[in-house]
């Protein structure tokens, strides 16, 4: 391996950051086991791995959030020990986290300079502040008014403001942890432009993303972790995508291909067999500002995929069916009987479960244990007077932890301490525990690793096989195509197509999303 170019930096002789043989243990887990990692000036280095591989731990070790058990961190060749993120930042290592940690009700300038406001006569020098923040923003070619409120900008701009804030501290190294997870394609392009600007000015950038596409587009170098251990450091141009994926999950990816074959074989069975019964049918379902009158029907045991951009109405219609939001007008019937879905509770009574796309804020209850989270919906449905016996709770928790392969020390662990993918599985377990007839999954695989993704996809497939209806929403069209029997395409809050998944391609779907209905007959819907 000595002759591998990855071990000998190309044009950058000295790394800015050099972490050597870092180990960190948590009670019962070896989170990092002698992992080494380097960052070179003017280079984007992607850190890859499944959930629980140790990416966040490595970042937190670098930024001083966790103290390391053994190993050495060098910054510009000097050994450093940070006792907190503030120290790391002062030394030139800045971090931008997945969730924008800014104050929406302050101006852009105030956010950029927060905590480092230029002073004059004991007060804030507002003029200097506006000038300095304008300089930083223009340095990033960001054409926004520093005096405008942060909330008036899109999430993408806010993300860029967070970066502007991070680099004002004369960052030598910038860590971007999942910065793209809530951005659309154009916004990602804007972010990448900024990253390239920074890169050209010599900043070393650590990039974390679950989107391999983006990783390949932006990074020069890749480091792969698995189960807290270093798999290897590679130059991006020398690592084939399939090899990367195998390095990440350490097993053949054929499971996904098998799955696809299975779905399509049942597709044929369905076509041959008798027509399934309709489970839920929505007619002219409307909510102002969210969804134009829409018809949608889902058969028993059918997986319907919703494809469309963010804001196209895909989440909005799902929330109406799940009772999370109220429809202004329209009618939903279950097995032909009109029903009211005005609260999640009513939807659950009809065995319709909505699993939110916002796992943390609307999904798991993070200060409760895994067990409590799994039984929550079932318990709420039974009412507080009929507690689930402790023994039954333990059985439920144990069976779902095993069935969904939830990685947790035990059922008493707080959900807060689990990785994103495992939190998602806990949320799924909660919904499966109420034995839903229709499971609405809104972005169930967002921000989670390929292994967990495959497991969840397999699960969805298995559930539908057993007669459960699934409404599946994902920004990843491949995933929608892989799992769905039928695909509904939404655009600008309207349904533009409703077609069986019969040899559809990603490109065909993209065309539909971009341009609308190919033929009017498709808009009539599933009744045909």
């Amino acid at each position: 391996m000595e002759e591998s170019p990855a071990t000998a930096p190309l044009e950058n002789p000295a790394p800015v950051v050099e972490m050597t043989d870092i180990s960190i243990s948590f009670p019962g887990v070896k989170a990092l086991d002698a992992v080494s990692f380097r960052m070179f000036p003017g280079e984007v280095h992607s850190l890859l791995g499944e959930n629980g591989a140790g990416k966040s731990t490595l970042i937190k070790a670098l930024t001083g959030v966790y103290s390391i058990d053994s190993g050495v961190i060098r910054l510009d060749g000097r050994k450093v020990t940070f006792s907190g993120p503030a120290q790391a930042q002062a030394a030139g290592i800045s971090t931008v986290y997945q969730e924008v940690n800014l104050l929406g009700n302050l101006t852009v300038a105030e956010n950029v300079m927060l905590g480092r406001e230029p002073r004059r006569f004991g007060g804030i020098n507002w003029r200097a502040m506006r000038k300095r923040s304008a300089e930083i923003l223009s340095g990033l070619h960001l054409n926004i008014d520093p005096g405008s409120l942060l909330n008036s900008h899109s999430l993408a701009i806010q993300q860029l403001v967070a970066i502007a804030r991070a680099i004002d501290v004369q960052a030598k190294a910038l860590i971007l942890d999942e910065p793209t997870s809530s951005l659309d394609t154009e916004e990602v392009a804007e972010l990448f432009r900024v990253i390239r600007t920074l890169k050209d000015s010599g900043v070393a950038i650590l990039f974390v993303s679950h989107f391999l596409e983006q990783v390949y587009e932006i990074s020069d170098r890749l480091t792969v972790l698995r189960n807290g251990q270093l798999v290897g450091e590679y130059l991006t141009e020398e690592l084939l995508r399939i090899d990367l994926v195998q390095a990440m999950i350490g097993k053949e990816l054929s499971v996904l291909d098998d799955l696809e074959a299975q779905v399509h074989s049942t597709e044929k069975d369905r076509a041959v067999g008798a027509k399934s019964k309709t489970f839920v049918e929505a007619r002219r379902l409307t909510r102002k500002g969210a969804i134009a009158p829409m018809d949608l029907s889902i058969d028993e045991g059918e997986v319907v995929g919703l494809a469309g951009l963010l804001g196209s109405g895909r989440t909005e219609i799902a929330r109406l069916l799940g009772g999370v939001d109220r429809a202004d007008s329209g009618q939903v019937s279950v097995h032909g009987e009109p029903v009211k879905l005005r609260t999640p509770r009513q939807a659950i009574k009809h065995r319709i479960a909505y699993s939110s796309e916002n796992r943390r804020s609307e999904g798991v209850v993070d200060e409760l244990s895994v067990r409590d989270n799994i039984i929550l919906a079932l318990q709420a449905d039974r009412g507080w007077l009929r507690p689930i016996p402790r023994k039954r709770q333990d059985e439920l928790a144990a069976s779902y932890i095993e069935a969904l392969n939830i990685k947790t020390p035990n059922a008493d662990a707080l959900v807060r301490n689990l990785s994103g993918g495992n939190q998602q599985k806990v949320l799924l377990a909660r919904w499966l525990a109420i034995a839903p007839r229709l499971l609405i999954l809104d972005e169930p695989t967002r921000g989670i690793d390929i292994g967990a993704k495959a497991e969840i996809q397999k699960l969805v497939y298995g559930l539908a096989e057993n007669g459960m209806s699934v409404l599946f929403i994902s920004a990843e069209l491949e995933e929608v195509l892989r799992l769905s029997n039928r695909i509904v395409v939404l655009r600008d809050r309207e349904k533009v197509a409703d077609l069986p998944n019969d040899g559809l391609s990603v490109d065909a779907l993209l065309t539909l999303i971009a341009e609308g209905a190919p033929a009017p007959s498709h808009t009539i819907g599933a009744e045909s």
Partner: protein, 354 residues
């Protein structure tokens, strides 16, 4: 052994219990017979400890309700006023009755007062859960209006009640134990059973931690909030009756004055966060005992009454400091430094011996 010690120090009730023990110790030093309990000719228990358990009961009873309210991310400032109203209603009914010593009369008066308290709690619940008004504002309304209502009921007078059955509540004994203490213990036990033997505790915690996630999981947050505010006011009513009976007078201005602050303090000292979520009734019990022991200490040690509030503030500050994560970390660093120094000392001695 060391492990056990570390675990004990890490327990969230450790420092409150240490503080309680320290307060008791101060009292024992000041008054050597402080812990002794005597039985008088009628078989009633007497002693300073019994006094603490009796006089602390109203605070404990209210703090139990407050714990549940706080766990739902709420707060109830109106409990003191509800105390006053309950006392005023019961007293004026007994006073107006031709047979104040009749058990039936007193029972009727007590039930009326409690039903009214429950109604006031439902009104709080309506404001908070029904109309979505912030709990601190919603209950502030009743906190200020309540004393006025009590004043209207007593017509501005301090009603002195001479009723044997009513006096029993505040100064009577059951099997030698003060009635108030028995009521406190029973209510504490019932609340613990109600929340932990049913799923109420879990659902309350879920709502307190993440209201939206709980709603989407089908938890009826609104109903739960209604219940905890109603329960809190009902318990405040009970506490108000005990206080009024103990003072043998209903005083619209002073019955239960500032008791909401004591109750909130008891909850916080017990380790339940004001941000809602996970709660500890056992912690609240310890908190209520600390507060009452504190009041007693002021008398036994002979702190002048004008300095009472300052003394109380000092102790509460100490407990809160001991519980804060920042202090815990500092203590941890100090301990490990001591340990290293000790080891170095041992090593140096060993070297010198050689």
């Amino acid at each position: 052994m060391k492990n056990v010690l570390n675990r004990a120090v890490g327990h969230r009730l450790f420092w409150p219990l240490v503080m309680l023990a320290a307060l008791l110790l101060i009292n024992v030093i000041a008054v050597p017979g402080f812990l002794s309990i005597t039985v008088n000719s009628e078989g009633h228990l007497f002693g300073s400890i019994i006094d603490i358990l009796r006089n602390g009961a109203p605070t404990l009873i209210i703090a139990v309700g407050m714990t549940l309210v706080i766990a739902t991310r709420g707060i109830d400032l109106s409990v003191g006023s509800v105390c006053a109203i309950a006392g005023a209603v019961a007293s004026s009914m007994i006073l107006a009755s031709p047979t104040p010593n009749n058990v039936g009369t007193v029972t009727g008066a007590l039930l009326t007062a409690l039903v009214l308290s429950l109604g006031l709690g439902l009104a709080n619940g309506l404001l908070v859960a029904g109309l979505g008004i912030q709990p601190i504002i919603a209950t502030l309304i009743l906190m200020t209006a309540g004393r006025g209502i009590a004043m209207l009921i007593t017509e501005g007078q301090i009603i002195t009640v001479n009723s044997v059955p009513f006096a029993f509540l505040g100064s009577g004994f059951i099997l030698g134990v003060p009635v108030a203490t028995v009521a406190g213990v029973l209510i504490f036990a019932l609340a613990a059973l109600l929340t932990r033997r049913t799923a109420m505790g879990l659902l309350i915690e879920a709502v307190g931690i993440n209201p939206e996630a709980s709603r989407q999981a089908g938890v009826r947050a609104r109903g739960l909030k209604f219940s905890v505010y109603a329960l809190c006011a009902l318990l405040a009513g009970i506490a108000g009756l005990i206080l009024t009976s103990n003072q043998t007078a209903a005083d619209a201005n002073n019955t239960g004055l500032f008791i909401e602050l004591d109750a909130i303090l008891a909850v916080v000292i017990g380790g339940t966060s004001l941000a809602g979520g996970r709660y500890s009734l056992a912690g609240t019990l310890v908190g209520a005992l600390i507060i009452q022991t504190l009041v007693t200490t002021v008398y036994t040690v002979g702190i002048p009454p004008i300095a009472t509030m300052v003394f109380k503030a000092a102790v509460v500050t100490a407990v809160c400091l001991l519980q804060s994560p920042t202090t815990a970390a500092a203590l941890e660093r100090w301990r490990s430094r001591l340990a290293t120094r000790h080891l170095q000392g041992v090593a140096a001695k060993a070297g010198a011996a050689r």
